[in-house]
Symmetry: C2
Subunit: 214 residues, 2 copies
Amino acid sequence: MPRRKVSNPLALAVLACLAERPMHPYEMSTTMRERGKHESIKLNYGSLYSVVEALQKHGLVAPRETVKDGRRPERTVYEITAAGRLEFVDWLADLIGTPVKEYQSFEAGLSLLGGLDPDTAVRLLEQRSAVLRSQLQGGLEMQRYAANLGVPRLFLIEGDYRRGQVEAEIEFVDKLAASIRDGSLDGVDLWRENHRQYVAGEEVTPFRLPSEQR
Amino acid sequence: MPRRKVSNPLALAVLACLAERPMHPYEMSTTMRERGKHESIKLNYGSLYSVVEALQKHGLVAPRETVKDGRRPERTVYEITAAGRLEFVDWLADLIGTPVKEYQSFEAGLSLLGGLDPDTAVRLLEQRSAVLRSQLQGGLEMQRYAANLGVPRLFLIEGDYRRGQVEAEIEFVDKLAASIRDGSLDGVDLWRENHRQYVAGEEVTPFRLPSEQR
DNA sequence: ACTCAGATACTCGGTCTCGAGTAATCGAGC
DNA sequence: GCTCGATTACTCGAGACCGAGTATCTGAGT
């Protein structure tokens, strides 16, 4: 059983919306989009409806009324319950106060970097750096624009966080590329040799710790 | 249809293992653990076997032999195919060269930070910072230990990346906590006022852009 | 020689996720 | 007043994911 009865972060966003006022699911989705929350919390319809249903099953939200409007599909308006408010702050506190390990695809890629040849790796890292830089640029403009509209910084901190992470990643990527290029990274010689064997069709001698040497 | 026939990163690790030599699934799992790859790529048995099956279905790996050893469950040894090798480098190149947006739970939490009261938020951010610092410490020791054993840096870069990300996060968290505490973050006054209303049972006046003001 | 923890090797079915698909209504423009 | 694309609002089934559970074997200790 997962730590929480409903574990999709989208459920937290649903609780956040309903903490403000009752809504029907589709309205939650538009609200989230308007406020840019979908940049931080994955939103898709399938999950939205199943998450609301799950929240209801656990008594964290409750249907308040179902409006039938012409022959349109009826909208069910939900409200948050007392238990839902508790769950909301508890969950949120958890997210902020307790870091959890998350698996990122770039990290996965890095851990297998040896599977590429060094020159290709450098080229790709440089490409990544360039894309990250332009994303960073875009993010900054977005933030300046929002600030101009008068949105308080408080509502833009996710962006600040993201920016910090991207900046750190750029720094890392650039340094890594450089250290492969100039051979200063410990292990590149070995790496180069392995790939030479590989393209030559020879058997590749995998790395062994001194202690594992037979 | 996802970008790749098999999209679980674990499949990439499987290809990486088989690129080295034929193996049976369980051996892949132990190999990954020995090399610490499970820190970067989520590994669990259920996924492992279904992923191998999926790879086989798409012709990226093929069973080489099934060994029956006493009355133990038989082990099926797989090998990588030519198509599998192509997929491996192509996928890996993609992971390294092209950043993708990933949803992190802390970012989700930050985007809803307004749901906590400011003083609680500060307390939780301080707590997070402390945990991150100790994780960072642990990671550094691990790395020093591995370096002492003679593992080339090349095989530890995931850790370097992670460290950079954690350091950036600590910096962000500390700055954010400070700016809430001393009130220098634009929007805290509003935030405080909202929570005052909230605990007083008054109706909370949500933030509106000047342009949305009625 | 017996026991029992730990390693080996995998299976299974329930839950969660996804996103394309459906179907009705609104409204701008001819 | 008609058409067509955008918006509103939700449904559904295929497939991914998970991790507890099963069954066997090895080997250290008594």
